[in-house]
Amino acid sequence: MLEVKNLHVRVDDKEILKGMNITVAPGEVHSIMGPNGSGKSTLAQVLAGKEAYEVTEGEVTFQGKDLLDLEPEERACEGIFLAFQYPVEIPGVANTYLLREALNAKREYREEKPLKHVEFGKLARDKMKALGIGEDLLKRSVNAGFSGGEKKRNEIFQMQILEPTLAVLDETDSGLDIDALKIVANGVNSMRDSGRSFIVITHYQRLLNYIVPDFVHVMVDGKIVKSGGKELAQELEEKGYADF
């Protein structure tokens, strides 16, 4: 589904990714762990198409397409979703409004009819309950005045509505208490199936107790230095990154 080969990326003349490789097959959950500044979030942003990042070498293929050739919105419509580490606030734009526009943009891309207000409302309400999201959160401006936990739950809620093929979760666990963490993890687990893949970026092994990955990768200084199964996360938790 996703193949990243020898990816080199610069930001402001500084090389952040230095030959990154990762292959994700349908249905797999990959976790990327690593110390601060190792380039984990950069990878997430590059996959989503952030313009400030300059790809100097390498290639990224997503479902047979050259991902780097696509605009951010085309990538989204092709099925890539990024749960942001820091979801931005958009004052005056109702949360539900952005989401309906987004869903309908995606449906239009696939040449499907847009969802009507009523249909969308029903869909949203079905998903909300499980995530403990209230009606008021839908009506409020996107992320404006949301608590840290509300922002993260909102990202997962958006993911559930948009039903991506590949979801990249960028430190979705940071700033969450244990109850919120479980809610978020359940939200992710309920979407796991043979056709959908996840890349879970995190500092802590804690999240991986709830979202159990198929593969764990250790990223240091812009590339993956070690890969393994879920037990690797446990090992990292005990020993830290000092050995790499």
């Binding site: 400030a52 919105e73 989204a76 942001f84 005056g92 734009v93 401006s141």
Partner: protein
């Protein structure tokens, strides 16, 4: 993406067509003869002609104001024609008598003049160049005692009211453009709401400039008697032409005890082309007097058109406990310039005013907020809240803020908040990551930015305003 944007940029002003209709146009230039001609065309009484000539005398001695933060070539006032009217039956009694070309024009603009086709609950006065061509729902409104007609008709039918109030808010020598308007005003709307009446419909005037090399100088007068309520909306468009055209209007509002006037504007005059050629020069004086106790005047404006905008809808809060409000969205794209804001003059006790201004600059547009809050020495416990936000799209545009505050009474309570933000790359990326195109993302973010103002508009027009904003923003990213 750039290819699509170019395409969009070319079709962005949708109202730029010209109506082919036989018109009577006054020769270019301004002198007493032209004023006498206009006055006699309209069968005006002697006092009004004298009033016009007096305004002209003052105007001749005045200098064009240049204090605004605007750059434009000198206007040659003798190169403008001051009167243009369709030849066929300029004041039809029924819809059948209207020139079909003109009727079609309004259909194209989305303002059908047939009452059954209208938005439910909106009465329209349609002004075409210098004359009002039709007013809908007049009979229905008359049942409630509401007068809604063109100002020319009001001069004939209700001369006492016109004489009493004309110039009582904006005196004929008030400023250069108001004096010019007072000398040559041709048409506009007149509204009178009797005591205790809540006007049963939205009233609206649709201004259309059509003729070439003419100016539009309309004058609107709204009087709300004690305890009455009216919501009024004006819309405006003009053909796409290479030469700039002058629009210098005057609007006067009078609110008596406990009366409320809500005045909304959706201004979409032709803004000029990409090189800044053509477009309307919009020099407008709008002012309301809250004469009565607890009266209220609320201005809401959405300004997306014109090459040059010079406009400061104001409230004089004379009555105790009166309220003035100003909600504004001004968008400048390409080479548009807008110097706009308000004046809130607090005279009475416990008067309060609210100013919410949202300026959006894109392309090479320049957006200026200019506001004055004046608290007089007898205005005990006056309150003002001002919020002034600017948003920049791209790095070639500008936003400027000139807030003036003059307080002569120590019991006043003033609040002022201001912000300038660049449309966030992060906000854009967030929306695009969710699947929205760059264009849609800008329009979504900007509409969110303007929410507080749009919610003041009557519902149908709020939807219209959002669409208009999106269209005006086309070509602003990429």
């Amino acid at each position: 993406m750039s290819v699509d944007l170019e395409k969009l940029a070319q079709e962005e002003y949708k109202y730029g067509f010209v109506t082919d209709v036989e018109q009577e146009i006054a020769p270019k230039g301004l002198n007493e003869d032209v004023i006498r001609m206009i006055s006699s065309k309209k069968n005006e009484p002697e006092w009004l002609l004298e009033w016009r000539l007096g305004a002209y005398e003052r105007w001749k001695k005045m200098k064009e104001p240049r204090w605004a933060f605007l750059r434009y070539p000198k206007i040659d006032f003798n190169d403008i024609s001051y009167y243009a009217a369709p030849k066929n039956n300029p004041r039809p009694k029924s819809l059948d008598e209207i020139d079909p070309e003109i009727k079609e024009t309004y259909d194209k603009l989305g303002i059908p003049l047939e009452e059954q086709k209208m938005l439910a609950g909106v009465a329209v006065d349609a002004v075409f160049d210098s004359v009002s061509v039709f007013t809908t729902f007049k009979e229905k409104l008359a049942e409630e005692g509401v007068i809604f007609c063109s100002i020319s008709e009001a001069v004939e039918e209700h001369p006492d009211l016109v004489r009493k109030y004309l110039g009582s808010v904006v005196p004929r020598g008030d400023n250069f453009y108001a004096a010019l308007n007072s000398a040559v005003f041709t048409d506009g709307s007149f509204v009178y709401i009797p005591k205790g009446v809540r006007c049963p419909m939205e009233l609206s005037t649709y201004f259309r400039i059509n003729a070439e090399n003419t100016g539009q100088f309309e004058r609107t007068l709204i009087i709300a008697e004690e305890g009455s309520y009216v919501s009024y909306l004006e819309g405006c468009t003009a053909p796409q032409r290479d030469e700039s055209q002058l629009h210098a209007a005057v609007v006067e509002l009078i609110a008596h005890d406990d009366a409320t006037i809500k005045y909304s504007t959706i201004q979409n005059w032709y803004p000029g082309d990409k090189q800044g050629k053509g477009g309307i020069y919009n020099f407008v004086t709008k002012r309301g007097r809250c004469i009565g106790r607890a009266s209220r005047i609320s201005w809401t404006q959405v300004e997306t058109g014109s090459a040059i905008t010079w406009k400061y809808p104001s409230c004089i809060l004379e009555g105790d406990n009166s309220v003035g409000e100003f909600y504004s969205v001004a968008l400048t794209n390409r080479l548009q310039q807008a110097d706009t804001g308000t004046k809130m003059v607090h005279v009475g006790k416990n008067t309060s005013s609210t100013i919410i201004s949202k300026g959006i600059s894109a392309g090479e547009g320049q957006n200026i907020y200019r506001g004055l809050v004046e608290i007089g020495k007898n205005a005990e416990k006056a309150r003002n809240y001002t919020q002034c936000d600017s948003m920049l799209i791209g790095d070639r545009c500008g936003a400027h803020t000139f807030p003036y505050i003059e307080v002569r009474n120590s019991t006043a309570h003033m609040e002022h908040e201001a912000s300038t933000s660049k449309i966030g790359e992060d906000q854009m990326f967030y929306c695009r990551q969710r699947g929205l195109s760059a264009e849609d993302a800008v329009s979504l973010i900007v509409n969110g930015f303007c929410k507080e103002v749009f919610k003041e508009l009557p519902f149908e027009f709020a939807v219209e305003a959002e669409k208009l904003l999106s269209v005006s923003l086309e070509g602003s990213v990429g």
